[in-house]
């Protein structure tokens, strides 16, 4: 009994034996997809490429006043947000960081801000601009999935207190 408890405690102090959190892998893959969607929209917003929009009215959304936050194009915020999530998620599966509660909570915090912001943008498309941008909706769906995939960090943080 004592021996078993001792083994368990020893195992918890050897992070290299614990496999990397799978949810962080999921966040990394989804974030990388988000980075490319945001880069594609950014390339369009700075005039490099036309936007391919099978359904919806991407141009209406992208040329609206809501496509910029001051001098900053919204896709640039997306690149920064998804990029940060990607870096955090990849760090969070490295042997020296995979048990880090801080990285997990930072990731969850960023995903929460991200999902709130994309929800706001989706609301603007529906209620203010009255047009849909399929890439923006895809991005919102990705951010929601990232948020859901980050939720196990709550349990992990509570368990390790």
């Amino acid at each position: 009994m004592t021996s078993s408890a001792g083994t368990s405690a020893a195992a918890s102090k050897q992070p290299s034996l614990r496999p990397p959190p799978r949810n962080r892998m999921v966040v990394a893959v989804l974030s990388l997809m988000g980075v490319f969607i945001a880069l594609y929209l950014l390339a369009h917003s700075i005039g490099l490429i036309p936007l391919i929009c099978g359904v919806g009215s991407c141009e209406t959304v992208q040329s609206s006043q809501w496509a910029m936050v001051g001098p900053v194009p919204v896709p640039l915020i997306g690149v920064a947000g998804y990029g940060s999530l990607l870096v955090l998620a990849i760090l969070g599966i490295q042997p020296s960081w995979k048990d880090s509660r801080g990285i997990g909570l930072l990731m969850l915090g960023l995903a929460t801000v991200g999902v709130a912001y994309t929800a706001f943008l989706t609301y603007l498309e529906a209620a203010v601009i009255h047009a849909w941008c399929v890439w923006c909706v895809t991005s919102a769906a990705l951010m929601t999935l990232i948020f859901l995939a980050s939720l196990p960090e709550v349990g992990r943080a509570v368990r390790r207190r």
Binding site: P20, Y40, P50, L51, E59, S63, P152, G155
Partner: protein, 252 residues
Amino acid sequence: MSKKNRERKYGSGEAPSSASGGAEMTKFYWILGAVAVLGVGIVGYSVGSKALSSTVSEPIEMAGLDDPAELMQVARGVEKGDPDAPISIIEFADFQCPGCGGFATQVKPLLEAEFVDTGKAKFIYYDFPLVSVHGHAFLAARAARCAEDQEKFWPYHDILYRSQPRWSTVQNPAGMFEDYAEDLGLDEDEFSACLKSDRHADVVTANMQLGYQLQIQGTPTILVTQGQGVGRRVTATLEGIREGIALLQSGG
């Protein structure tokens, strides 16, 4: 149920503790790599193909267009009907605008039968591509001008509007524009060389500038004129054009 069993059954957000962690990491990096290659490929291709292309698909910088005399030397509509007809029906249109498509396929044939074919009026088409919302409109306008070089502007105009839902949604419609030229029996090499250049970009740009000076704000915009008079803006319907022409003829 013990905590260990509960985690085994419902998961804890972590992979099961085993030596398979390394294999899982390898699999993860493969998936991440595949997404990276795909993403770099798609975004890189989109940017690269636009950058490498010599095809002009946007308005060009032209000095002097603010001067009306200089503008009128470059701006040029395409006419249909009797050049000496007393009335001119002028359209400012965008090949990618659905409203213009509706006008071209439903209203214009009736208009031609009533006014153009009977010699009462001539029809003049000016380009007004709404480039901020229609990414292919400028190229379509140039393509129609390339067809005009081979005296097939109007058949090409019709085919562009009829096929608008198809070419509007593709990433690069140049190939479809070449197919339409082939369907109409145009010299493919000549058309292709014209399309993959900056030819007619000056005329289309000048036509747009003319539209701005006439305070055209949307498409299709229809003007009717008599002689050299200033155009009267009318609704883009057969009834609207009839009324406008009747007012012109009555001196209103």
